[in-house]
């Protein structure tokens, strides 16, 4: 099931994956469903892949779903960046990750020299795929603080201002965090703000637990 959460920045698309994610055609169908959901979306979209109910994922499916989505996010900027409606950027976050999901996903990403941000089932942030320790360290610092900048970063991360920004920009280029007006934002923060916006937009439920509207939410 895929759910879209509207918002100015960025749009969050949630995809709950299920059960047995095995074989390439299955992976392809799942990915196409996810892509279709956000195909017409302008601006930035954070796709959240929820692995909570995934019993098994094999290497082929990990490649078709996660590595392909990461590839689309990073390696096809020309088509997305020159869209007449404005730059269209894609980000991916995995949630509910269990130990047995990690090897197929990590291996699929490494083969393509890609990386993806993830949260373990207990909420701990981890990077999967081709990342070196210094990248992972810097990324964890951003996750801990949730957002960093736009104030000067000199010394903040144990690095000179210029180098810190170069390395943070590289994490942004790899679509592992968001960047806005000199500020670098973790995906968890994005989700927190998106949930807050949704709460404010949605009227309180009535006595029977119903809401008047469910504007902007779609599911498949």
């Amino acid at each position: 099931m895929t759910t879209l959460r509207p918002g100015p920045d960025p749009l969050v698309s949630e995809a709950s994956l299920f059960s047995y994610l095995v074989t390439r055609p299955t992976g392809r169908a799942v990915r196409m469903g996810i892509e279709e959901q956000v195909a017409g979306c302008e601006g930035e979209v954070l796709t959240v892949l929820d692995f909570k109910d995934v019993a098994v994922i094999d290497y082929s499916c990990a490649d078709e779903v996660v590595a392909e989505l990461a590839f689309i996010a990073v390696r096809r900027p020309a088509r997305l960046e020159t869209d007449p409606r404005g730059p269209r950027r894609r980000f991916v976050l995995i949630r509910g990750l269990e130990a047995h999901h990690q090897d197929p996903i990590d291996s699929a990403l490494r083969r393509r020299e890609l990386a993806v941000a993830a949260e373990l089932a207990d909420g701990q942030p981890v990077l999967l795929g081709a990342v070196d320790e210094s990248e992972a360290h810097l990324w964890r610092l951003v996750c801990e603080r949730e957002r960093i900048g736009p104030e000067p970063l000199d010394g903040e991360l144990g690095l000179p201002e210029g180098e810190a920004r170069v390395r943070l920009d590289e994490l942004y280029r790899r679509r592992l965090l968001l960047r806005r007006a000199g500020e670098y934002i973790s995906f968890r923060r994005v989700l927190f703000e998106s949930a807050g916006r949704r709460e404010r937009r949605e009227p309180a439920p009535d006595r029977r637990g119903r809401r008047d509207t469910d504007t902007g939410r779609s599911s498949s």
């Binding site: 074989t23 098994v56 994922i57 094999d58 082929s60 078709e64 291996s107 083969r111």
Partner: protein, 300 residues
């Protein structure tokens, strides 16, 4: 004209070469008779090997081969329980032989044809519960092993669909290897009679290897280097993952294709890791052996 192919009394991975060596000379229009009367023991590899050999015989002669059923009632009963006759009926001319009603076997997986990705889903979902029981209680593997086994099963079956362009079969059974190992083992066999590794990888890799291109180099490229018939860097992970996982469990994996065989050889076997002198046989034949852990895990 007819040719009798005498089956060895033990039909397994070690006698497979004997089974297929007579097939090399089969001619178009020749009627083959696979004489299984003296077969006394069959392994999963032997079971689907007999299907594969029959299919190749049929392809070469243009006639459905005949199969003389084993004299041993134990073997016949095992073949019944493993759904052998049901699968053989599409390959062999079985004459008056009919499958008798039988109960469920104690095998992890009876002979199952792999024709589509739905079949792979079916196999993976079907074995999960029993595989968990076998891996934990008989092989003493840790709990997550069932997931890793499911992944391995999925990848090895997909290999048929991705590379063979032909039907394949999968079969799995547990044994106690008293003499060879003194431990329980899970034996998984997967076969097809399609393109084979050399044919599948040729378009993408043969030129680079030049004169050295062969079934053996194709197996090395796929099994050791993770090369695939596709340019996509995401392809070719499956066999690598299987090799890694089997190594972790100190198991054996051997892949035979064309006239070659490559293997990950554990310390408990003395198989040659690479052979290139075997009788030609199309497709790919995979055997995976997972042994019980040598010592009981602490705390259980």
């Amino acid at each position: 004209m007819s040719r009798v192919i005498q089956l060895p009394d033990t039909l397994d991975e070690n006698t497979f070469e004997e089974l297929i060596s007579d097939l090399e000379n089969a001619r178009q229009g020749e009627r083959l008779l696979f004489d299984a009367r003296h077969v006394r023991w069959v392994s999963p590899y032997g079971l689907i090997g007999l299907l594969a050999a029959g299919q190749v015989g049929s392809d070469r002669t243009g006639l459905a081969p005949a199969l003389e059923v084993p004299d041993s009632s134990d073997v016949r009963s095992y073949l019944d329980r493993m759904d052998f006759w049901q699968n053989a009926s599409t390959i062999y001319d079985l004459g008056a032989h009919s499958t008798r009603p039988h109960g469920r076997s104690d095998a992890l997986l009876e002979i199952t044809p792999i024709r589509s990705h739905q079949d792979v889903h079916h196999v993976v979902e079907r074995v999960r519960e029993q595989a968990a029981l076998i891996l934990e209680s008989r092989l003493h593997y840790p709990k997550p092993a069932v997931i890793q086994f499911s992944v391995m099963l999925s990848e090895v079956c997909q290999n048929i669909l991705e590379h063979a362009e032909a039907v394949g079969w999968v079969c799995a059974q547990t044994y106690h290897w008293k003499r060879r190992l003194g431990r329980d083992v899970l034996v998984l066999a997967v076969m097809d009679v399609g393109l084979g590794f050399q044919g599948s990888l040729a378009a993408e890799h043969a030129r680079r290897y030049g004169d050295r291109w062969s079934a053996a180099t194709a197996l090395e490229a796929a099994f050791l280097k993770g090369e695939s018939r596709f340019r996509d860097p995401g392809r070719g992970q499956g066999l690598q993952a299987i090799r890694k996982q089997v190594t972790k469990w100190n198991g054996e994996v051997r892949i035979r294709s064309g006239d070659a065989m490559i293997a990950r050889v554990p310390d408990w076997d003395d198989l040659s890791p690479l052979r290139a002198d075997l009788p030609y046989f199309p497709g790919a034949q995979v055997l995976i052996v997972l042994p019980a852990r040598a010592e009981e895990p602490v705390g259980t």
